[in-house]
């Protein structure tokens, strides 16, 4: 399967009469976007704001971040099974508004998490401070149940991202990147001497606000399975996970999965990137056993020599991670794990909730408990008062001047477990 990703670089975002992309600027008609959101009768009002790199803006609480993409050639549309038909995506051509994103905010529950600072020390920690963001603030109708609210907000994000993506449909990309995954037998012929590598992508799947969808299927109801990496680039996997801001995988992370990119970079040179194995993180321990059994079984069936396993979220997924590691290593397949740490504020506590001697190659995304100071911003988009009640915050986290003292885990994407960032700990 072969996909060409065409990057159209976005350096600025502005409101305008007409939505369009011109000379690296994304122009957005605010009213069109509002109307699109309000098509969903679960929302009584909507507001749209801009947040550019370097601006003194804090976005809180962040639900999801989505990159606008559009299918230019080939079957299917972006976010299949969600807002496009369930057709197999991942081949042909896709255009990307690189440098732009849709950010959804909103209080689905009282303790909604996630901060993006566009400036200052907080901005260093989150990759989304480098993007030209269109921030959606949607107010639900009275009495809307949390389930419906979460779903409505999730879909508002996809729809607006699709709307923006469509602006790029007929544009000529600034840069084109080609990704191709040969069939197993072709791959063996092409690269007979290279080690064969798969990527085990663990997806959060534990109920309301903890879910991930694959072609529209709730990941907790699926057995471990295989997927072409390019399918993920076309939005086959989307995030419904709103918990544990620092180490949840937003839809943006899935679209731009760094492990996939870096394995492709070495593909055909030092390794043969065979495919992606997607596995879930269910609550039921028997599910964890079953899912990790299948990861190991598929890795064995594929005949790979090594795998990278990435995690999502805090606590019990450590158990999935270690199960995957132990069982895959037991098949004689080498593993490298990517995780983050909760080593306490002073860094001296046990970092993971599970561990095993077989996990001898681990990449760390940093200690999420480290305390940071975020200076006040001129403008806050969203609900600043949630700071005192979110994970990593505490009574008095939010100071009178608008500055925040809290644990790193308040920041969206700060300790990402796909290895999206340079942050680490020793």
């Amino acid at each position: 399967m072969k996909l060409e990703l065409g990057y159209i670089f976005i350096k600025d975002i502005q409101f305008a009469e007409q939505s369009k992309v011109e000379n690296g600027t994304l122009y957005v008609n605010k009213e069109d976007v509002k109307a699109l959101i309000l098509e969903d009768q679960n929302f009584k009002s909507a507001d749209v704001e801009l947040a550019r790199p370097g601006e003194s803006i804090r976005i809180i609480p962040v639900k999801d971040v989505i990159e606008p993409r559009v299918k230019v050639e080939g079957p299917g549309g972006i976010f299949p099974g969600m807002i496009s038909k369930v057709e197999t995506v991942g081949s042909g051509k896709t255009n990307v508004l690189k440098g732009a994103a849709v950010v959804t905010t909103g209080k689905i529950v009282g303790f909604q998490e996630g901060i993006i600072d566009m400036k200052g020390p907080g901005a260093e920690y989150t990759p989304f401070s480098k993007l030209n963001n269109l921030v959606l603030k949607c107010e639900p109708i009275d009495g809307l149940k949390q389930h419906e609210h979460e779903k409505a907000l999730r879909f508002a994000g996809y729809k607006v991202a699709e709307y923006l993506g469509n602006l790029a449909k007929s544009l000529t990309p600034d840069e084109v990147h080609t990704f191709e995954t040969p069939s197993l037998t072709e791959g063996l012929k092409l690269y007979p001497d290279l080690p064969r590598v798969a990527y085990v992508l663990m997806l959060q799947s534990q109920g309301l606000m903890h879910d991930t969808y694959v072609y529209g299927v709730d990941a907790k109801k699926s057995l471990t399975t295989m997927i072409y990496p390019t399918e993920i680039m076309d939005g086959a996997i989307v995030s419904g996970n709103c918990v544990s801001a620092c180490d949840k995988n937003t839809t943006y992370h899935h679209l731009n999965n760094p492990v996939i990119q870096d394995l492709f970079e070495q593909h055909g040179k030092t390794l043969n990137f065979v495919c992606v194995i997607i596995s879930n993180e269910n609550v039921y321990l028997a599910d964890k056993e079953r899912s990790s059994n299948w990861s190991a079984k598929l890795a064995e069936l594929l005949g790979v020599d090594g795998v990278i396993v990435s995690e999502e979220g805090f606590g019990n997924p450590d158990t999935d991670l270690i199960m995957n590691c132990k069982k895959i290593e037991s098949k004689g397949i080498k593993t490298v794990l990517i995780t983050d740490e909760y080593a306490g504020r002073d860094g001296t506590s046990q970092s993971l909730a599970d561990a095993d001697a077989k996990a001898n190659a681990v990449v760390s995304g940093g200690n999420a408990n480290e305390v940071i100071e975020l200076p006040p911003m001129d403008k806050v988009i969203g609900h600043p008062e949630v700071v005192d009640t979110i994970a990593g915050g505490f009574d008095g986290s939010l100071h009178d001047d608008g500055s925040i003292t809290a644990e790193l885990q308040v920041i969206t994407g700060a300790t990402n477990e796909m290895g999206f960032n340079r942050l680490s700990a020793r």
């Binding site: 534990q206 309301l208 805090f314 046990q350 599970d354 009640t389 994970a391």
Partner: protein, 121 residues
């Protein structure tokens, strides 16, 4: 058997499931679960289910086997690691929580539990 300190779980599921309601903290639920595991019950759900941090939500529901069997060492490891993890977080005392937020936490705990019980919406 469900061990819980979440009254929403109790009121919603008490007619269909065997529930041990704990009038106490998240930690009390973990400790009771540990005692049951030591007595030979098997842990069926992960005690740190959900990505909510132990010092964030006050509610926890755990499922263990209805029947007592041989001591299950995996269950012992998992519950004991969970208590260590809990204590690590609770060096930072829980925040003030409004009634509305309490309700939200109860709901999340319920839905996470239901995802294990295969109750769908």
């Amino acid at each position: 058997m469900i061990i819980t300190n979440n009254d929403l779980v109790y009121s919603k599921l008490k007619d269909d499931y065997n529930i041990l309601y704990i009038d106490g903290s998240f930690r009390d639920v973990l400790v009771k679960t540990r005692d049951k595991v030591h007595a030979g019950y098997e842990l069926l759900t992960h005690p740190l289910s959900s990505s909510l941090k132990p010092n964030e939500t006050p509610y926890k529901s755990v499922i263990i086997s209805d029947k007592k069997g041989k001591l299950n060492f995996n269950s012992v490891y998992i519950i004991e690691d969970a208590i260590i993890e809990y204590d690590k977080f609770n060096m930072n005392i829980i925040k003030k929580i409004s009634e509305k937020i309490r309700k939200d936490f109860k709901l999340i705990d319920l839905t996470v539990l239901e995802s294990a019980l295969n109750i769908n919406y």
